[in-house]
């Protein structure tokens, strides 16, 4: 049996168009954009084309796109770079984040709190509703930045980022969104919104790993956190990864172009998976069932099953999925996202299916059948 990859929210393969666009940059066109000779000029041209392509796809102006190495760096720059603006003025920075952010945002926000600033975490209910009172109170305190993710990576939950950006602006506050899981699945036209800062990464949208960008809308001040040459408006100094930027830009362009079609297709497939699992396994919880969710992610809770054993069982059945989120060196850490949404009700195993380009209806049938089989064995093992 051929293994089935249902972990597209973890990472994706590099698509053919992206690979082709990158190839010349890895061989003949290897120049450093800072060089003044023809190799340098050619590299600059490719880099700026990539910037234009990405900007057009996201509905912003080219100078508003900064190529950053990956989503984590981009999130960090948004949070820490905004906090640094406050610190430079001698103010103690306050950052506001939702409780279900990626760790790249949460850890950055906590580091601000550790170094003399403050971090306010806004709760999110199981229906996806933000604690609006907490948000309003926090906005009144003029935070350096509010950061909320567009699509949550663990559950697929969608936060009302466009509305929150408007609320933030009404209060004169800068708003950042981690749009890593949103691009290619939901319409992301940043120019039509009041979002000031947005993080995108290449490897979730069939681009190369280690690539990313931060959109910084005109007039939004961000202080550098890495120092060196003047590249990327001094916000991400270091010789540019031109090949990565080109690959990323093609990936962003294709992902946004195909988003509407792909969203419909993936929503249908995800619903099929969800419905067959719920029909067969009455005891499971569909995380975020009452909330607005992205097309490609289905997270289920299986009571009385062990997380790691479930994942191993599915892997042996040829189904590649994730738990709630990655864990390190064998230690299972309870998902902060599920804790925020479900509190102590978040028990048992969590399995996240995430769908993508390669996913077919056959894959969905096979994944459902395998999951049912493994859960049945887990139930049998739990009741001797």
């Amino acid at each position: 049996m051929k293994p089935i990859y249902l972990d597209y929210a973890a990472t994706t393969p590099v698509r053919e168009e992206v690979r082709k666009a990158m190839e010349p940059l890895l061989s003949d066109e290897f120049g450093n954009p800072s060089s003044r000779h023809r190799w340098g000029r050619a590299a600059t041209a490719r880099l700026e084309e990539a910037r234009e392509r990405s900007a057009a796809a996201l509905g912003v102006a080219p100078p508003e796109v900064l190529f950053i190495r990956g989503g984590t760096e981009s999130d960090n720059l948004a949070i820490l770079g905004r906090a640094a603006v406050w610190s430079a003025r001698g103010d103690e920075p306050l950052v506001v984040v939702s409780a279900i952010e990626h760790r790249a945002v949460l850890e950055a926000a906590e580091s601000v709190a550790r170094s003399g600033g403050e971090c306010v975490v806004v709760g999110v209910g199981r229906d996806g509703a933000l604690d609006e009172d907490a948000l309003r109170t926090a906005l009144e305190r003029q935070p350096a930045v509010v950061s909320m993710m567009w699509v949550n990576n663990e559950v697929g939950l969608m936060l009302p980022v466009v509305e929150v950006a408007e609320m933030a602006h009404a209060a004169g506050v800068v708003f950042h969104t981690d749009a890593v899981q949103a691009v290619g699945k939901v319409p992301v036209r940043l120019g039509d919104t009041e979002i000031d800062l947005a993080t995108v990464t290449g490897h979730k949208i069939y681009g190369p790993k280690g690539t990313g960008l931060l959109v910084v809308r005109r007039g939004t001040e961000v202080a550098p956190r890495v120092f060196g040459g003047g590249q990327e408006q001094s916000l991400r100094p270091g010789t540019e990864d031109v090949a990565g930027a080109v690959g990323m830009s093609v990936a962003v362009e294709l992902a946004t172009r195909e988003a509407e079609f792909e969203a419909k297709r993936l929503t249908t497939l995800r619903r099929q998976l969800e419905e067959s699992l719920v029909a067969e396994l009455g005891s499971i919880t569909v995380h975020g069932a009452e909330a607005k969710r992205a097309p490609h992610i289905l997270s289920i809770g299986i009571p009385q099953a062990d997380q790691e054993v479930m994942l191993a069982g599915l892997d042996l059945e040829g189904i590649a999925v994730s738990g709630g989120s990655a864990c390190d060196s064998g230690a299972v850490v309870k998902s902060h996202v599920l804790l925020a949404m479900y509190g102590d009700d978040a028990r048992g195993a969590t399995v996240r299916f995430s769908l993508g380009h390669g996913t077919t209806a056959d894959h969905i049938h096979a994944a459902a059948a395998a999951t049912v089989a493994v859960v049945r064995r887990a139930e049998a093992a739990a009741s001797p």
């Binding site: 099953a305 062990d306 790691e308 042996l316 230690a331 064995r377």
Partner: protein
């Protein structure tokens, strides 16, 4: 038997070779490493095979063998079944046997439950022990390498689990295992043996007791050292630091070396006496487990009262729980809390925990 089998991989050379042999035998092998307790952030020198480098090494070996490998966190059960028991035994003035507890519970029972979810038909490990499967019944025997034999640790396995177990190293010697590991190019071929208790890598368990009991627990408080007549000879630093048969150096010049004869948790007394006082004629054994039928009254068996002790002939003088065994010749340092493991020649019959010497 073929089919899918789960092999417990500690990251040591033995379980690495066990996995390799099962692959050669045509099994669909699934490697699993159990994470049994919380490793400190600061990695110390790699003394044991169960730590984080154990996980890494097991992963490397699984990669070489081309088998899937998973890490299962069993910390909660391990803490409850092994570490809590370890601490409680010392608090009660007894000397625990954590490796037996782990093998009786965590290593096989907990793993088997997980293996079932993975669709495994059996469980294997790198123990030096032989298993024979007859029709309907299975029996464990000492490993062919008597220096490495680990059957002692397996007396607590439920008898009905035996048919599911495989021990590929049972007929091999340690040096054969090492050379197989070299032939196969396994990363763990030259890894040193683990000697200490895995959750006490320094060998000093007092730290652990202080953390898990209050530092002011009676077991860790000073108390009297007394002789066989109850005369106080000095002070000790907490009775949890003593085990039967241990030599005790006392100031003041005693004519002969003194040894710990008993530990009384209720009075916090550590009783010492001359070497001769450490011998006993028999033992009462509780928490019994038999792989087949329990040996009847009058039956002659061999009993092993410590991992490294020689088996000694003994007679069952009282069946039931507690079981009473009388030794063919007096045995030194029969220690409450340790295992009394019962054999009939090479065959492991079962065993129990030593309650008291008689």
């Amino acid at each position: 038997m073929t089919g899918r089998i789960l092999v417990a991989m500690s990251g040591g050379v033995d379980s690495s070779v066990a996995a390799a042999l099962l692959v050669e035998q045509g099994y669909d092998v699934v490697g699993v490493t159990m994470k049994t307790f919380c490793y400190s952030e600061k990695a110390g020198p790699s003394k044991t095979c169960c730590g984080l480098d154990g996980i890494m090494d097991a992963q490397r070996v699984a990669g070489t063998l081309g088998i899937p490998h998973y890490v299962f966190d069993v910390e909660e059960a391990f803490t409850r079944d092994v570490i809590d028991d370890f601490v409680e035994e010392y608090a009660n003035g007894r000397t625990p046997n954590p490796c037996v507890r782990c093998n009786s519970n965590t290593k096989f029972k907990d793993l088997l439950a997980r293996g079932r979810v993975l669709g495994c038909d059996g469980i294997a490990s790198g123990h030096y022990v032989r298993i024979e499967h007859g029709n309907g019944a299975s029996a464990l025997f000492r490993g062919a390498d008597h220096n490495k034999d680990q059957s002692y640790f397996l007396w607590g396995l439920p008898g009905d689990m035996l048919p599911l177990l495989r021990f590929p190293l049972g007929d091999l010697t340690k040096s054969q295992v090492r050379s197989r590991a070299h032939e196969l190019g396994l990363a763990t071929a030259d890894k040193p043996e683990s000697q200490e208790i895995c959750f006490v890598p320094t060998g000093d368990y007092r730290d652990l007791l202080e953390k898990r009991l209050a530092p002011t627990h009676p077991a860790l408080e000073p108390g009297p050292i007394v002789d066989l007549d109850g005369r106080v000879l000095g002070q000790h630093n907490g009775y949890a630091g003593y085990t039967i048969g241990q030599r005790k150096r006392l100031g003041g010049g005693f004519p002969e070396p003194m040894f710990v004869v008993a530990v009384h948790a209720d009075t916090r007394e550590v009783v010492v006496g001359p070497s001769g006082a450490c011998f006993s004629d028999g033992v009462d054994v509780g928490e019994l487990n038999w792989h087949g039928a329990a040996p009847g009254e009058g039956r002659e068996i061999q009993v092993q009262i410590r991992y490294r002790a020689k088996p000694v002939s003994a007679t069952v003088v009282r069946c039931g729980d507690p079981l009473r065994l009388m030794f063919a010749e007096p045995q030194r340092a029969v220690t409450p809390g340790q295992s009394a493991v019962v054999y009939e020649r090479e065959r492991l019959l079962g065993g129990g925990r030593i309650l008291v010497s008689v």
